[in-house]
Amino acid sequence: MTGRSAALEVRDLTVAYGAVTALEGCTLTLEPGKVTGLIGMNGSGKSTLFKSIMGVVEPQHGSVQVWGADARKARRSQSLAYVPQSEDVDWDFPLTVWDVVMMGRYGHMGWVRRPRHADRVAVQEALERVELTDLARRQIGRLSGGQRKRAFVARGLAQGARLMLLDEPFAGVDKRSEATIVGLLRELAADGATVLVSTHDLHALPQLADEAVLLLRRVLYQGSVEGALRPENLTRAFGIDLGGAA
């Protein structure tokens, strides 16, 4: 594998659910060591893009490569972590923070997933990094919104993934937790990992991201955050016709 392979390379991806096309010719390359904000309205294909990268949906056309390898291979080698939207998690599920973070280690374990010393150390370290050590034994539903997100980020850290996907991590999260998560993602990127964050929160974008991607079934814009936030670009991404302004 060459040292210059991109962290994520999505090429000409088309995904349709029946008659509805979610992504059409979507092409996107992410460089290592960067945090990228993924911006688009509901139905723009953000979730579908994530699902295609994770192999949950099969594209009709196109390919996904992670760190220069076929996405399937990359997933098996634990290169990919995912932090789900809050609505997609059953918070009443009888698992502790420790249990959830330990799930990040399953790909490193044997067939029956019996944790070894190295797995426990990795979980411990991940919990320390997100400052949840004291809450390790707490059921996940008994955490605040921000703590919940941090638990799932810790799962990705314990997994040791070099590409982390986060789906709306700031929804329902207080400002302090948001700052902690942003700091953590910046640290990860500084260590050479690549982070892709879908978000509605345009105000947080300058502190969070090195670059931004505007998505509407395909990539409309990829570049600096300031550029993405220019009215003419946002107008295109959110499909608002400003009546001759554009």
Partner: protein, 285 residues
């Protein structure tokens, strides 16, 4: 009559010893499986599969192969049909489940009525725990051991599947395969429990213990202890009640489980209705 007599008297009959053995085995395996079914949200699926295995069991009897094979084939067939119906028409999932399992169950009833056999229709439908032969005990024990081993070995993967199947995808695992594993276990476990409570009531053993344990603890590991314990104890109580009151054994096993669930629903320390109401009035004060 002392309590000891009440417990010991039935045990002088071999058929009661066999009945209790099979009941405990079935109760424990069903209860373990129910922990995952309840959390995945597959109670209705459990209902469907447990009814849909009926024609498979009858055909297996006719052909002379183990009941589990027939049950497995029709359990899988039911799930495939439900999936196809939902995926290729505007019929929603609950309707698809309802159509498929009632049709297969009815097919089973028709088959029973035309197949000449010594097996009584009511035994398959309502269980025949007092007529268990020692060969049956071995069969049930073997099937239960296989199901138990698979459940315990794959327990962590199944929990991951129940909790976050998207994450399973991201880690390169195959959640679909885990889903099929769970459904296959469901079909096999139905055969284990068939003799105790019958096809119609199997679903009770597959839902009530898991749901009861879920109300009692926030730890999945503890659920895996509480559910089988609760299920085994209440099933044994049910069998004893049926002996002393000469009433339907399968019926009493399920009624006792339902009573235990109701008590837990009302009085569980944290999730119980009473505790919740107290908490609410304390918050208001």
């Amino acid at each position: 009559m002392s309590v000891i007599d009440i417990v010991l008297e039935p045990l002088q009959y071999d058929f009661m010893v066999r009945a209790l053995a099979v009941t405990v085995i079935a109760a424990v395996v069903c209860a373990l499986l129910s922990c995952w079914l309840v959390l995945v949200g597959w109670s209705l699926m459990g209902d469907a599969v447990s009814h849909a295995v009926l024609p498979g069991v009858v055909l297996a009897y006719v052909v002379g192969v183990p009941f589990a094979l027939g049950a497995l084939a029709f359990g899988v067939l039911a799930v495939v049909l439900i999936g196809v119906l939902r995926g290729t028409s505007r019929v929603k999932e609950d309707a698809a489940i309802g159509i498929v399992f009632t049709t297969l169950f009815a097919l089973g009833l028709v088959l029973i009525s035309v197949v000449p056999s010594q097996t009584d229709l009511s035994h398959i439908l309502f269980g025949n725990i007092l007529g268990v032969s020692s060969q049956d005990v071995w069969q049930v024990g073997l099937l239960a051991a296989v199901a138990l081993a698979v459940l315990l070995l794959k327990s962590r993967d199944l929990t991951l599947f129940a909790f976050d199947s998207t994450h399973a995808h991201a880690m390169g695992l195959n959640p679909k395969r885990l889903g099929w594993l769970l459904l296959g276990l469901l079909a096999v476990v139905c055969v284990v429990a068939l003799q105790v409570v019958g096809v119609i009531l199997v679903v009770a053993l597959l839902i009530i213990p898991g749901a009861t344990a879920y109300l009692l603890t926030d730890s999945f590991t503890r659920m895996l202890w509480i559910a089988p314990l609760m299920s085994a104890v209440s099933s044994v109580v049910g069998i004893y009640l049926s002996y002393w009151f000469d009433a339907s054994s399968g019926g009493l096993v399920v009624v006792v489980q339902g009573v235990v669930f109701t008590l837990v629903y009302l009085f569980a320390p944290r999730q119980g209705l009473v505790a919740k109401m107290r908490e609410r009035s304390a918050a208001r004060a």
